[in-house]
Symmetry: C2
Subunit: 388 residues, 2 copies
């Protein structure tokens, strides 16, 4: 039983402004997020004030003011100095990872993974439990609440919130589930608000592929500063997460990334969805037939379609099937993508295996809460539930 009364209301659901106006507070938040993001990506190495100024375009003085605020809030700290270049040496600033944490919850058809991560995205704790979507919403929510609560007690401090990632079609903005494939009784379930009420912390829900892509977008920042890429997930199904211009692209109704049922063979074999010639059907059939190279080729054609349409320059492959033989899929998909790019006269997109293993989705789910801190997403569609 919760001590609060209002069922939960998104921050902006009324006669919404087409595009939001900005005031001084928005400006302040924006620039602080910018600085915080640079602190995050520079990791343990840290970054100096002047470097921050160069990278953001802000005045050194402005950076000083902003970092002073961040230090006062405990989000940043000084950490040594750089070698002098003939004058006063630069002071190195670092993100304080322990200043906050978030929980990521991956609800899969048969298993649950709950993780806690710090501000830097580093793992703090993890729990796993079996799950059965068919047992209904109540049972699944009970399990989720139990695992998250256990995670929170081992954690000691309250997390910023809980990010939940799961397969089916759902609406990120409202937190409602739609017809989760194969489980019609989930249709219309207000997962976000129910969890927010029972857990007493902010909750965000998103598709599993979106969460994974977001996680990769933030984790990979150190390695490749690419701001657009596609994550293709090949497991029991085939889906995609799209990061365009540094932000997750969810589409009008969080439906973006329906990659599996792209038709790549007109009048081809019937797919479970009713279409003919879906990539997913062809791909999974090839895998089942023990022809992974053919599966990779088919996936490659789908990937090349996507690359051409969106002009992303990086494709990341993941999911159980890929993880069994990453090199083969990277090679097979890469070959098709490169060949198609060559024919189009365009520079080829890079194809790589996504890292993260089976924690990738849960880690990404946690980032649903952290990303707004770093200005990587709009903070909308978070269900708050005042509890203190």
């Amino acid at each position: 039983m919760s001590s609060t009364e209002s069922p939960s209301s998104g921050p902006s659901s009324g006669p919404f402004p087409a595009r939001p106006a900005a005031g001084l507070p928005a400006l302040r938040t924006h620039n602080a997020a910018l600085v915080l993001d640079l602190l995050r990506t520079s990791g343990a190495d840290g970054i100096s004030r002047l470097e921050l100024a160069e990278r953001t375009g802000l005045t050194p003085q402005a950076v000083s003011k902003i970092t002073a605020r961040l230090r006062a809030e405990g989000l940043a700290a000084e950490a040594g100095r750089r070698a002098s270049t003939g004058g006063k040496p630069r002071t190195v600033l670092r993100l304080v990872p322990g200043a906050g944490s978030a929980v990521g919850l991956h609800l899969d058809r048969d298993a649950l993974i709950a993780v806690a991560v710090d501000l830097a995205g580093a793992p703090l704790a993890e729990r796993r439990a079996p799950l059965d979507f068919a047992s209904g919403a109540e049972a699944v929510v009970d399990t989720a609440v139990r695992e998250v609560t256990a995670l929170r007690t081992t954690l000691g401090v309250d997390p910023l919130g809980v990010g939940v990632a799961l397969p089916g079609p759902l609406d990120h903005a409202t937190g409602l589930l739609h017809r989760v494939t194969g489980f019609p009784e989930w249709d219309g379930f207000a997962l976000r608000d129910v969890l927010a009420r029972r857990l007493g912390v902010p909750v965000v829900v998103d598709k599993d592929t979106n969460a994974a892509a977001l996680g990769l977008a933030l984790a990979g920042a150190t390695a490749s500063a690419r701001d657009s890429f596609a994550y293709l997930h090949l497991g029991t199904g085939l889906g995609a997460g799209l990061v365009l211009g540094g932000a997750l692209h969810r589409g009008a109704r969080t439906g973006a990334g329906e990659f599996g049922h792209q038709v790549v063979q007109l009048d081809g074999p019937r797919c479970g969805c009713g279409n003919r010639g879906c990539v997913e059907a062809l791909c999974l059939a090839a895998v089942a037939a023990g022809a992974p190279d053919e599966a990779a080729r088919v996936l490659g054609e789908g990937a090349a379609n996507l690359v051409g349409l969106l002009d992303v320059d990086l494709v990341l492959l993941g999911g159980r099937t890929v993880d069994e033989d990453p090199e083969r899929y990277v090679r097979g998909v890469g070959a098709v993508v490169r060949e198609r790019a060559r024919r189009a006269g365009a520079p080829p997109a890079e194809v790589r295996a996504a890292r993260g293993g089976d924690r990738a989705v849960a880690d990404g789910a946690a980032q649903l809460l952290l990303a707004p801190l770093f200005g990587r997403a709009d903070a909308a569609s978070v269900a708050h539930h005042g509890s203190h």
Copy 2:
């Protein structure tokens, strides 16, 4: 011969900041653009200060200040009053369309269309001329300069700039052309900077499909406030323009929208590009064979792929072939899109014919200059050339 010396330099090409920091001027511009956009979309009806405040989220007082500035600059004006609701009646504000103008230039393989439009996008003048890409860059540029200059003299006032739209692959950010299909000598031509130098006004270049999509995004605002849609252009080729989240999606290298060479039939008939089973090849073959319904079906499968991947809720069809029998294509494509959406359990995207006829691209090209005023695009990738 130009009186200026520096060849032209984009405003931000150096060691660029990952994401730009914002200051007070940026804030001011942002909010002014917001207000200006609402003035534009409300057209001749006008809009009151309090309505602007509600729609933007700004305080009425802030709106008063902003509109006062806009009126001082001649961009807005008072235009009558509304009926009273028991108190002082609201004063209606209107955009002053004549306060500025822009030129749009559509360079097609065999023809040139140059248009001048006012701030509201309404046509002011138009010129047409034959063109031949094969005659080389110099000749084409000469023709373009001649027609634009003629347009400017009939116009009387200096336009804000010239937007140029043309088919081939090109880079919007640098203004360089790449290997324009069939005309290798255009590869690497700095069209934007050459035109900016010869015309003495800011110039932007973009793909024809992108320009058309941008034009539709701004023109259609009155009818449907959809902020994401895809424009599919079926003419001598097949291409797409994508508007995602209110902004044109160009991709990493302005390559986005390569829709024609999406493979929808693995190992299908060979396309001119070298792939097998491209939508474009199948579609054009069906058209040539006198089977427009089959062409519409193929196009529909491609469109449904796109809708599923990006979750846009509107598809606009245009181009010479579509314009010959719009209803047939809208019906055929719509049928496939609706059926595929039904199977996926998603609300179907709407399919409509794009308006604008053969002026659509030129009108959209002009919007490349106007859109930044209304906050609809980043003002980057404009080649200025100080001339006064």
